[in-house]
């Protein structure tokens, strides 16, 4: 029987992960004040939860520069991709070898910070999957996890649940535009307009922290692969 409710994406690195890492971990003199504030907070040990982590690049990277990160995805990805990647990057750069209590007992030292993994299915209630401590964070991060329209609602429901137990937190989402022209016409792919509309409907705020033009390979229905120019964004989404 095919399990339709779960949507898979191939465990690989997309443009959104790279821009998210650079935006949050590589300060630039042109960064806006809010972004500088976020960067400093992450380096000083902010608590993060990564949603739909895939192979765990963004969360692992941010833990290596000082953050405490709970990296989440569906069980099979946690078991077969994320845990393996955490293990291969486990090394501490600090004298303190005490795992933060909220990541214990399975926290792994990664550079200057800590990371742990947990299974999280957005279609199930958050409180049945994570402890209150695990869902009380400073930032929620996600890299390019809502490329299909069908994913957006369940993601935002999960984010809303985390917001409720993490007052003052914000959600940092990277997103690669995939439709040809963007706009409301695309029924398959999440559009920038689609994200903005969904955020507005919830009464939340959205701001663009960074963007970049990118070139990605796209396979047409006839199997031909060609490079297309598009953009990738890093948004900050927060309660008003």
């Amino acid at each position: 029987m095919i399990k339709h409710k779960q949507v898979y994406y191939i465990p690989q690195v997309w443009t959104g992960s790279r821009l998210l890492i650079e935006t949050l971990a590589w300060p630039n003199s042109n960064d806006c004040d809010r972004l500088k504030e976020i960067q400093q907070s992450i380096c000083k040990g902010a608590k993060l939860i990564e949603l739909g982590a895939g192979v765990g690049v963004a969360g692992t990277y941010l833990s290596s520069i000082g953050a405490e990160v709970l990296i989440t995805d569906l069980p099979t990805l946690v078991e077969n991709a994320i845990d393996n990647n955490l293990a291969r990057n486990a090394i501490t750069q600090t004298d303190d070898d005490t795992c933060p209590s909220w990541l214990a007992p399975d926290g792994i030292p990664i550079g200057k910070g800590w990371a742990s993994s947990a299974s999280l299915d957005w279609t199930c209630p958050l409180d049945k999957q994570l402890t209150r401590q695990q869902s009380s964070v400073d930032f929620i991060i996600a890299s390019d996890v809502v490329f299909l329209s069908s994913m957006l609602n369940s993601l935002l429901k999960t984010v809303e649940s985390i917001f409720q137990s993490s007052l003052g937190s914000s959600f940092i989402l990277s997103f690669q535009r995939r439709d040809a022209q963007d706009g409301k016409e695309s029924s398959l792919f999440t559009t920038v307009d689609g994200i903005i509309d969904a955020i507005k409907a919830k009464g939340w705020k959205i701001d663009c922290l960074a963007w970049r033009p990118v070139s990605v390979s796209r396979e047409a229905s006839d199997g031909k692969v060609s490079d297309v120019e598009t953009e990738v964004f890093v948004f900050e989404i927060s309660w008003k």
Binding site: Y8, V57, A81, N89, Q93, V192, I206, W211, S217
Partner: protein, 171 residues
């Protein structure tokens, strides 16, 4: 009176307004920055009109700009940040792509590595080494997904986005 310049783009708009008062030499031009995500032009115009109700001439011009593509938020590649890919075979002969990226503060460790199933998509910049999988490398690992996930199990890791979309639409 007001004019709306529509169509430059859709994510943020600037309201440029000019106020003049009867029997007064006061003429002021202001710019108000608004995000469509958090407000709407009609509401902002109403607010301005109410606030400057005693003015004889309130001219409002709305300039839409593309906030999400605002030039000041554009980020070029970070100097010093480098990524690359290599291929790796495990004990069972499964090939995986290893994605490498260096850290900003190189101390005890300078590079993180991540085992992936397929090469990255658009994540490498010009000149960064990319891995290429051959057809033989697309081996199905029957243990990766749970047995109930037959879509993935039957097609291995070379599941194309189009296939996933079709299955999603069927649900």
């Amino acid at each position: 009176m007001y004019w709306i310049l529509w169509g430059i783009d859709r994510y943020q708009y600037h309201i440029v307004y000019h106020i003049s008062y009867l029997h007064s030499f006061i003429h002021t031009s202001c710019i108000k920055h608004c995000s469509i995500a958090n407000s709407n032009p009609a509401y902002e115009i109403q607010q301005l009109s109410t606030f400057h109700a005693d003015s004889t001439n309130l001219s409002i011009m709305i300039l839409h700009i593309n906030n999400m593509l605002e030039e000041s938020r554009r980020r070029e590649q970070s100097k010093g940040f480098k990524c690359s890919e290599t291929l790796e075979k495990d004990d069972n002969g499964m090939t995986s792509v290893v994605f490498h990226c260096n850290l900003p503060d190189e101390d005890k460790i300078n590079t993180l590595t991540f085992s992936c199933r397929e090469p990255s998509v658009g994540a490498l910049e010009n000149g960064e080494e990319a891995a290429k999988l051959s057809d033989e490398d697309y081996t199905v690992d029957p243990n990766f997904f749970d047995t109930t996930y037959t879509m993935a199990g039957s097609t291995g890791f070379k599941v194309r986005t189009t296939l996933m979309i079709k299955c999603t639409l069927m649900s």
